[in-house]
Each structure stands twice: as C-alpha cells, then as structure tokens.
Symmetry: C2
Subunit: 584 residues, 2 copies
C-alpha cells in the first residue's frame, strides 16, 4: 500500500486514426506499475482478444520499468506489448538500449499507440526541463519508407538529433511479417537492440508507424519518496553485481555466448533443428572463439546494452577487414543462425545477424525457421550461402521470403515439416527441453510462448547459482518454473536486466534491494514476498487473456516430438506431466 501518493509519472495516449495526442497523469489503477506489469494489465483490459493483431483495433504499448531512469544499476529495460501476430496471444517483448531510460527521465510511465495513421509515420517525444512541457508530435518522414533499420536510424538522427533514442521497424515490420521485431538504438546510437519476439514489428507496421523518436531530456523528471534511502539500496545492488563472478567477470569478458560452450558441454544445445544436443562446430562459434575474434579485430567484447549497465555483456563485431558489421551479437542469435542451422562460420552468422537487424527480424524465430526449411531439404543444414539467400529473399518480398519471414510454424506448414520446435506458435530459444526440463516447462507454460527469458530456470539447473536442481527429473519442474516466472514478472516490471538475478540468486540479500528501491522511489511498503504475489497476478491476467484469444490450458505443452524423440546426448525425452502443465 502506498505511504503517500508519490507516482508523478505520465501516460501518453496517441490516437493515430485522428492524429491526436493526450498526455495525462497516470490513472490510479496504473500507479506503481511499470514494464510488463503495465503493458499486460492494459492489454488485458483494453485490447479485444478477438481482434486481428494487425487490425487497427490492436493497441501497442511501451512502458519503461519502475526503476528505469534512476541510478539503480541495469534498470533501463523497457517493455513493449500488444496482441501478438505470431502467437495470437498476449505479448511483452523486453529490450535494452536507451529507450527505457529516456522515457523514464521524461517522466513517462506508458505510451499507448492506438488506431492507424493515415500519413504520419514517425512519433516524436521531447521535453526540456519538466514533464509539464513534454511534447509528442506526429511527423511524416518520406525518405525512411522501406528503409533498413541502420539507414532509417541515421536519417532520423540527422533530422531529430543524435541525442535521441530511436525505436524503428525494418522492411519486415512494414510488410507486417510475423517474425518482425522492433529495433532500438544502443548507447552508440546504433539499432542493435531488439524487442524481438512475437512479431511486434508487424503491429507497429500495421499502424503505419515506422519509428518512435525520443529525445534525451536535459533534466530528469524522476522523483523519489526518499532519495537517500533509495541510494543506499543502489549501493547494495551494485555491491552484489560486483561480488558475483558471473556478472562481474564471466559476462563482461565472454558475453552471453559463453553459454554456448556450457550448454553444449551439458548436451542441451539444440543443433540442426533440435535433432542433436551438441554441435561439433562450437569451438568455431562459441564464447572463446567469439572473444578471440573480437579482440583480434579490435572490436569491443565488453559493451553495455543500456545506460547504467555495469555488467556489459554485449559486444561489437568487426569483419576481417576491420569494419564493424554488427553489435549485440549474442548467444541466442549465434545459436539460432549458427548451431541450429548447422552453420559454424562466425562471419557468416554475424552477416546474417546484421541482415536480421537491418530487416527488423527476430533472429531466434528466423533461425528456427531456416532450420525447419533445412529439414525439408529445400536447402541443406550448414548451407550458409543458402541461408543468406533466404534472408535476402525477405527483402525482395518474394514468396519464399514471405514464408521465411512468417516464422517456423508457417514454414513447417508450407514445407510439410512436422518437427517444429515451438510453443503457441513461437519458435524455441537455445536450450533443449529434453535435457533442461525446467526451461522446457517455462517454454510450455509461459503465456508468451516459448521464451527462455520468461523464467530462466537454467540458473539452478545448469549454472547452479545459489542452488542446484537436477535438470533431468520431471518432478518439481512446474513449481520451479512458476517461481522463476513470478520473479521474472517483477524483474520485467522493475525494468531490471534479467542478468541481475545471476547476482541476486547467489546472494542472501536476494531481490530485496530492488524491492526497497521501489519502496523508496514510490513511497510503498512492499515486502519481498509481494513480488511473488505480483508475479502471480500478472501471469493470471496474461493466461486469462490468452484463454479469451482461444487458447485452452492444454496449449501449455512442448511439441509432441520432444516427448517421443530421444535427444541423443542423454537419451532423454521431455516428460513433465501434461496435466501438471495444464494446471500451471
């Protein structure tokens, strides 16, 4: 319960159909909500579950976290939400970059984008010294239409200034392709960060909007109930992040791609469309290989994805000539476009990653899709030239390009492939559910569809941070995943980077400093257990929305082939009980 009414944030309501913008005080029922908690509540209450996701009746929401814009480390994550064209259900996709911080500094809790624009294709948000003179305007910028994201971003920076955060879609989003994402500028002003999953690029595209531009305000509008106590807890969390080997050493040095070596050794690295648990090419594309290549070519292996990040697990990548060709070149995309397609050439994978970022495509979904097409024999596993050609076809808008850009379920249907690694229509990330059954359970039960970030049980199952759980036993996996999903809702709502939990899980202080920061910012008296309650509430809300979209509780399962086909590394199948999953 709030001690005093201390939430000074604003809601920006944009009605594109009538080119109208309204800036309001945050309404009572949304106060003290942020990030996913805010987007999921609004979707549940305001979006018609039966609406076609590309219809103007769908609403696109952007909400920085409760702690975004503050000195809390790693708190600048931003949630984007809508009814998903890919899953047909609720979606929150979470991104780093500058957007969360800038919006929060402007005092914005939420942007709602409704209707469909007749002409304007850019939304500009700016404000100088206080939330009261914040201005939101709609523009038509001719020369960004159809442009890839790097070009579009540059054009917008030259028009609106470089001290801006830009959220843009690529040709994929403009064409309403289901695998399209949103590309967000990083601290260098490059669109290397993605709100990747669920086809949200198509939602923005269906509204006629190519980009959102947010100017970094000179002054911050973030207010605090008790700033000095807030700052004490900032120190606490910084201390925890510095103490953890993973967040202070492993991630900064090797980035997320260190995971590839670990998961490969564990036998859970999905290879060639989830047909094996190890990839023989890992020494060419894994964490060690990547670090070596980056250092050799003078790129940066230790790059923050957002302002205030002290982990710096991201990177930049240069080609053989020393030209920077991509950034945010991380485990999921290297796995998806690499091991899962049988491709062991880092430069090719980096080129494909750049193409995905340029076209505005979710590289996980695209990697899953290319692998499914490879399984059909249309091109072979490991055919890196063929894979690049498929990506180029997307830009051309050819029929094969349209199939690739529609995601792995659509590709499976077109090509008659029945081994489709997906839940709720969304392709699976880089952990095989047959070997790491907790994360498989997260894939199965998350209202978002197959999503490793929704409840990263790998922390206990493989990384053994703070606790060790047998990843092979089906027993207890629903409870384990639930616990992780609950705390993830909190993390996603606070605007914290998921990797903060690598430090908090191994420290007896846990997430308490984060909870306290929320208390001292908003004048609340939340206890640590309240975050689990919040998690449950939001998950329940999301599940109900999905039910109204037409999904029954039995949609919560991995594809049947993973229950029948043993993974080679451990001769194991996914065997968590169906009824147990349904009752999640």
């Amino acid at each position: 319960m709030p001690e005093k009414n201390n939430d000074c944030r604003k809601v920006v309501d944009i009605d594109l159909t009538n080119s109208r913008v309204e800036i309001k005080k945050i309404p009572e029922d949304l106060k003290f909500k942020g990030g996913r908690n805010l987007t999921s509540k609004c979707i549940s209450e305001e979006v018609n579950p039966n609406v076609h996701p590309l219809d103007e009746g769908n609403i696109f929401y952007i909400a920085p976290g409760l702690l975004s814009g503050t000195p809390c480390p790693n708190s600048g994550r931003c949630s984007m939400g809508a009814k998903s064209p890919l899953t047909g259900g609720i979606k929150e996709a979470n991104t780093g970059g500058t957007i969360g911080t800038y919006l929060a500094k402007l005092g914005i809790a939420l942007i709602k984008i409704k209707g469909k624009s007749k002409k304007e294709n850019v939304i500009l948000v700016e404000g100088s010294d206080s939330a009261n003179n914040m201005k939101v305007s709609l523009y038509y910028v001719k020369n960004i239409v159809g442009k890839k994201t790097y070009d579009a971003t540059e054009i917008l920076q030259s028009k609106f200034g470089s001290n801006t955060s830009i959220v843009t879609i690529g040709p994929a989003g403009e064409n309403c392709y289901l695998a399209s994402c949103l590309c967000i500028t990083d601290i260098d002003g490059k669109p290397t960060r993605q709100a990747g999953r669920g086809g949200l690029g198509a939602v923005m595209g269906s509204k006629g909007i190519k980009a959102l531009v947010v100017k970094n305000p000179k002054k911050t509008n973030v207010c605090y109930a008790d700033k000095s106590k807030f700052m004490e807890n900032v120190k606490e969390l910084v201390d925890m992040l510095k103490k953890s080997n993973i967040t202070s050493k492993g991630l900064p040095d090797y980035g997320t791609n260190a995971t590839m070596d670990i998961i490969n050794n564990y036998g859970g690295l999905p290879t060639r469309n989830f047909s094996s648990g190890t990839f023989e090419g890992v020494d060419k594309i894994g964490g060690e290989a990547l670090r070596k290549t980056i250092l050799k070519r003078g790129a940066n292996p230790t790059h923050p994805c957002m302002p205030g990040c002290i982990i710096k697990c991201s990177n930049t990548y240069k080609n053989k000539k020393g030209e920077e060709i991509t950034g945010g070149f991380e485990y999921e995309c290297i796995w998806a476009l690499g091991a899962n397609c049988g491709i062991d050439d880092l430069d090719y994978i980096a080129h494909m990653n750049r193409l995905c970022d340029e076209l505005g495509l979710d590289c996980i979904e695209i990697g899953d899709t290319i692998a499914v097409i490879m399984e059909s024999g249309y091109i072979g596993f490991g055919d890196k030239k063929g894979a690049v050609k498929l990506l180029n076809e997307i830009e051309k808008g050819s029929p094969i390009g349209k199939i690739v850009a529609s995601g792995c379920v659509a590709a499976g249907k077109a090509f008659g492939v029945k081994r489709i690694p997906q839940v709720r229509g969304q392709g699976m990330p880089a952990y095989d559910p047959r070997v790491i059954k907790g994360i498989g359970t997260t894939y199965a039960t998350s209202p978002m569809g197959a999503d490793h970030t929704a409840g990263f049980t790998v922390s206990y199952e493989v990384l053994e941070i703070g606790k060790s759980v047998d990843s092979f036993k089906p027993e207890g996996k629903v409870a384990l995943s639930r616990q992780f999903q609950q705390s993830t809702v909190f993390v996603d709502s606070a605007g914290l980077c998921n990797f903060v939990t690598f430090a908090t899980l191994g420290d007896k202080r846990g997430l308490r400093p984060a909870v306290k920061m929320i208390n001292f910012k908003y004048g609340l008296k939340l206890k640590e257990e309240d975050l689990y309650k919040m998690g449950d509430e939001v998950l329940e809300m999301e599940k109900k929305f999905n039910e109204r979209c037409g999904m029954s509780k039995y949609a919560s399962d991995v594809p049947d082939f993973m229950r029948k086909e043993k993974l080679d590394t451990h001769d194991s199948v996914y065997d968590v009980g169906k009824e147990e999953l349904a009752e999640f």
Copy 2:
C-alpha cells in the same frame, strides 16, 4: 438400448509401420455407431491431442454410415476423420461417391489406418461373398506416385478392376499441403467426389498412402434385425423425398448451384473475399446459367453423387468443345473459385475446379485463399488467368504454390492480409455470417471449424423449409444452430445425405423413418429424441478433444472484422454474443 446384439460389422485395423492388418468383430463400445459418431469417438479416445497431425501417431479413420449399403435412399455417405492439419482439432469430412456403399456391403464399419508405410502406397480391400473371407492387402504401385487424381484413378482401375471404389490423394496430399483433400470415385468411376475439408489428404499423404481401393463385393454382407419393417421405412423416406419440391425438382434440375441465385438475391453471397453480399456476375455463373450451359453442351445436369441417390443434385460439365472436363461442379466450388474471387467465367471456374480435383485440393479453402491473395494485390480480383496460374504453381511446388496450398490463414500471414474469413483456421463457405447469422453461428461453434454442412440453418433462415426464422436477429441463433448441429451429427452418422433434411424438415414425419430404419437394422429401440442426445454426446466429445488440442471455448467466434465491418447489402454485422457462443 439394443434389443439383440445385431451388429455384425467388422473393424479393419491397419498398422502401416509394421505392414500388419487385423480384421476384428466390432467391439462392444463401438456397436451401433457409424459415420461421424464412430470417427469422432475413435479420435477422441485413440489420438493423442498433442500429436502433430502429420506425424505417424495421427490415425486416419474411414467409416460408412449406419444405413450405408442398405436400400435406404441417399444413405451412402462416408465419414473420414483424423486430427486435422488445417484446424489442429478434430475433423470429420464427409463424402459421397461409391466408397460408403462398397465398404458397408463388405460388412465394414470402420477402417483405422495407423502408423506410416515404409514402401506400400495402396490399400486394397476385397471380399467375395461374406465378411469372413474379406481380405485387406498392402501394395506398392510405382506409377501412381506424384500422379494427379484422374490419372492415378485410371491406373488403379486398370490394375484392380473398374468395379472398385477408389479414394486417392493428389500431389497436394502427397506433399502434405494443408488444403489437400481426398478424392473419391463417383458412380462413373471418376474422382469427382471429395472429402474436402480440413486437410485430410495430407494425413493420408503423411502415412505414405496414395490410395485406398475397395472392390465392390458380389454379395452384400449387410444384415438386418427386421428387414421387412426396414423396407417399410425405406418406402416412407422415398415418399418424403419424392413429395418435397426441393429434393424432387429444384435440386435435380438446377443442382446445388440454384443456391447461388437465392443467396445472391438475399444479399448474403460472399463476394471478393467477403467484402460484398452480392456478385454482379451471378447471371453468368449461377444456377440458371449453369443449367443452360450444361444442357447446351450435352452434359448431365442431374447426376447422382452416390449409389442409391434419388435426388441427383450433381452434374457433369463439358467445355466448349464438348469434352467432359469436370463433375460434381457445385455451388460451393463455383462460389469459392467464382464470386469470392470476382471471377464470372464458368469455363474458367470449371477448369479451376478440375485442377483442384486433379491436385487433390479443397476448392472452398483454395477459393478463400486465392481471394485473400487477391486482396493483398498480388493479383487482382477477377484475374482468372492469374488464379489459374496460382493453381499451376501448386503442382510445381514453388514457394507461392506452397503458400496457396496452405490455406487462407497461412496466405493471410504471408501477405499481411487481416481480413481472413475463417474459424479455427478453416476457410468459410458460401454464406455470409453477417446476413445469415444462424449459419454464422454454426461456423463459429462447430468443432470442425467454419463448415456450412455442420448445421445448415439456412434451411429455416432463407429457404424457409418447414419453418421460417429471421436470419438477421442475433437472438436464438445459438439454440437454432445447436438444434441443427445435433441432427446433423445423426445424419452424418447414419450416412445420409444432408439434403435428405430438405424433405424431412418440411414433413411432419421428420427423421423418424431414418431412426426406425436404424432400429430395424440393428435391433434397437431408439426414439427420435435420442438422435438429439446422440448429437449432444458427439459434439461434447469433439469439443473436449479440441480443448485438449489447445482450443479454449473462446475459439468459437467469427473473425472480428465481421463484427465491425458492415456488409453492404443490409448494413449488418455479425452480433451474436461472444459469451453465448463460448457457452455453446
């Protein structure tokens, strides 16, 4: 309750994986069940709801009706069922032709096709004089692989004799395309009859089976509890069919395509992807036009679709040169490939219908799909040459062909079209839900997906047979559709043609003669009200299976655009309450 155990039928159990066939007495719990009642019960109990429909774990069922093979008029319909690749839920597709009659004469209640064949691609069923010496064998026939259905049928007839019924798939089914159907020979031995909906061709294709060949036995194995009383009721039903103007005059003279003129006048003819309720080209492709063209060219306007049919609503169609190019050229396909695509050229539509039959494609789904692609602007509405080219691409297996053959939902995703007339992934037939709200309610609530045959309320709403119901009022439509769906389950289980109800609805004897025939054949004491109970039981079973496939009760709705976009003819939207639909 059965008076005596009088069900002498057999079950043929085919295990393709191990090339094994077992012929068994019908088990107790399946006795006195036929057609859809039998296929839906078996799917519910034997098919894993989570199985990929193209996996060998799916089971393909064929069941003639309870009255098939008897002298009961119009009783030779045959149900085919499986988990549908198109809807992801339960499917029964119903066909005329010779198959139901021949199977029933052989004493077969049910064929179960399990597993996946390693080499054999043809199932042959034969028997000379009694069910006891019935034989089922598996063959590999080389020269039918990849063949279109007319050619494949001819080859099989030359190999196994012409006094056979053949169920075959075309290249579409062999390639596991979602819009593929099963093609069944008519009384002339041509594959003009389809078990069209839900992609069942792909299920047979996924099992490696190209065709089922059933020899017409010399003697019948149909047995009766009381044949003379049975025959009295045969007379009764014949009398009713002769008395009804529709079944004795309208349908024989004009065929089903008379409906086009009626529905067009009513303002409910879906035109150009459901964007209008009337088509200006109806005088070129409607019932009058078709009859005139058929007669002028010396084709047959009054053709039975199965043995024992006394309505004869089907036809044959010749081109300008007098060559027979298609048969079973009926309302749904002429609407789908004609009005719905803005095409008003009967010869082109007939050519497209032949192509669909040759490739083994559901022409309703294909018409819906081409119209969706037309809406994207890839080709224009009315572009008949473009439409034929799209069909030809399916045979080539090109990416655009794969998209077309995947159905309207997949095409909508690939082309970013959001007005998709479908329920549960299956394209809508030839009645607009906004003007004829009862049939819209059937589309929304039938466990089969959008399907006019699942509960043809048009009989009351437009044709006013026996009763007149206001088609525009949303009130009472759920109850109306339920009543029709219940009796349809009975009709589909008895093996009766749906058009029999045009006679029974307008006659106070109703379906009683049919119920009595079942009683006197099987030694039962069913009352007329029992058929509604049976209907409810089967619908409940089907809904439960769908729920386990991942569909919630809220999947029972028409697409949202039909609730928002007024149909031009009557300025009306579909407005039956969502909760009412969900509680069906």
